[in-house]
């Protein structure tokens, strides 16, 4: 059903995205969602969370996960999305 993963085109290109570009993306997306990180301290290792660590985590996430998922290619007749895989197997037992 699945084709072999293609070369890491997305992953490679995401490595070329700068921190500044990612920060702009993250802040824009959070603003569109109505989520405000500015209530967190800028940089405080003793705080449960701070903006520096949250932004660093978000950049790592964006550099790895979306590209890796996008790189996994399907045949046109690949499975339709179903978010409960185990249940699909039960429903298909006839």
């Amino acid at each position: 059903m699945a084709r072999r993963p293609s070369p890491p085109r997305s992953a490679a290109s995401s490595q070329e995205v700068t921190d500044e570009q990612l920060d702009a993306y993250i802040r824009t997306r959070l603003a569109l969602a109505g989520v405000d990180l500015s209530v967190l301290p800028d940089d405080d290792e003793d705080a449960p969370a701070d903006q520096r660590r949250i932004m660093a985590s978000a950049r790592r996430f964006l550099r790895s996960t979306p590209g890796a998922i996008a790189d996994f290619e399907f045949d046109p007749m690949g499975p339709a999305p179903a978010i409960y895989p185990a249940e699909v197997s039960a429903w298909n037992r006839g």
Binding site: S57, F74, I83
Partner: protein
Amino acid sequence: MGELNRRRFLERMTALTATAMAAPATLGAVSGTGSGVGVRPPGRTGAGGRSGEGGRAVAGRLGEPDLPPASRPQPADPTELTLAEAARLLRDGDLGAVELVEAYLARIGRWDPRYQAFNTVVSVSALEAARAADRTRGRAPLTGVPLAIKDNYFTAGVRTTANSFIFEDFVPDFDATSWARLHDAGAILLGKTQMGPLATTAASTPTGERTTVNAWAPHHDDVSPGGSSSGSATAVAARMAASSTGTQTGGSITNPSNAQALTGIKPTMGRVSLHGILPLTYTRDHPGPLARDAVDAALMLQIMAGPDPADPRSLGLPPVPDYLGAVRGDDAALRHPERGGAVRIGVLPGFLDEPEPPEDPGPDPDPDIDRIGSSFPRRERTQAAYRREVATVEARRRMLATLEEMGAEIVELDFPTHWETLTSFNFNNVRLPERSEIFLEHLRDDVRKFGVSLAPWINGLLLPAAEYVRGSRARLVLLREVLDDVFGRCDLVTQTAPFPFDMVGLPLIGFPIGFETGSTGYPRPIGGMFGAEPYAEHHLLAVIAAYQRATDWHLRRPADPGDLRPADGDGDGPRDGSDRRGGRTRSPGRYDLFDVMERGE
């Protein structure tokens, strides 16, 4: 604002329930009607949220369960009894519910200041329920048995916090379906167990300070209790409850079970209703029991499982099998019940690989800094981790040899084609947008309410919808390959991490396979994990029950904290066991912000 958001959150859950009740028409005929217990009406059930009708339904359907016979002399200390042993003695009038509840409360009062397994202990209502059980001598299968319930299960009239700022004052007015079934079966609520904040990582305060300790290393904060059902595991392992419930999104039943020599089963998605459990995701949350052995896990699951109109994921499934029948001892336990031949246990590559000796990490650059969160310097930690890996492989070998001697067939397997890619960290992250959507109002209100576990909620907002859909499709590819390439050749399969089967909703069981003496100087459990085909929990339980008839790892209990060497500066002042939220009596370490993969959720 916080109260308003809680109300909106709960209104959304009610709306989801309404949607769920309309769902069967789109799913075709409902065939799964074989629950071991009666199905309670969903949602709010009136005063106290409990239904006497439901209790009668349980008693009528499960009746007096044919519990396996006692396999050992019954211990004098009632807290040493397994769930099934206690149920049998209570049924026969050889043990009083008050005696049992008082024994557990005494241990909680004496030792929970050290363990911090409970968020809330409801001693007054537990004793009232025990007195009522002794008066009525009810015939429901768990009459008078006290349980610890994870603090993300709704418990009517009892605070349900998910150990979070968001729900710190939330008191539901109805019971989660799975707890309602246990309660209707006669179980007594002893308390709510401490957990990772909002069911992420191991138990800590919402700001990340460690709380619950591993019952096998109560003086060492750096020995993980497993998460996020940490308190549920410690409560059972430390003999402060007969059994407990947990939820698993990324290992949170099997990991703490492995960490504390318990038997925990994460059932197939849909086998146990999620109605009334605070969600972390829609697609990967699984409720299930953490128990002292496979018989107890079977008894708990028999009651918890079954269709629930309030949760469409539980409808249209194969009937619930006879779990108690599966764990009853007989010579055919390691034969496949339907196919008839030997049970085939698949072993995936790497399961028995010897670990490479570690390179010398060098001395601690700054001992004062390096020891934060750990009692031991770096070199000692590295060597201890290596010794533990060696001991784990040896325990796995021994476990497989035992099962082979008992008649199982061991089958060497290759990984399915896309296993490495589709079980990777990146594909595991496909779950994250679900939690961000569930808690979006709270994220918009104040991100500080998420404390130490904020990062994955933010990351979930950043995964584009196209990649979420593609990741969801990829899980079906993974499932197809697992069904064809793995379960085409075996019945059960070894697992070294819970995430692959969590991703596709397949059942897992965690169980003890040995011990090693680590840097703490006293025994630490080693756990094993098996997975099975969808809705084949009875196969997992049957094989592990047979394994436990041939071994005694599950019978070993940790020493009380007072009998072990405390670490420098540790204390364990007594606590009275009355209703309270766990306060700190020691100086805890802190969990890192991004350690979910290691600690579970």
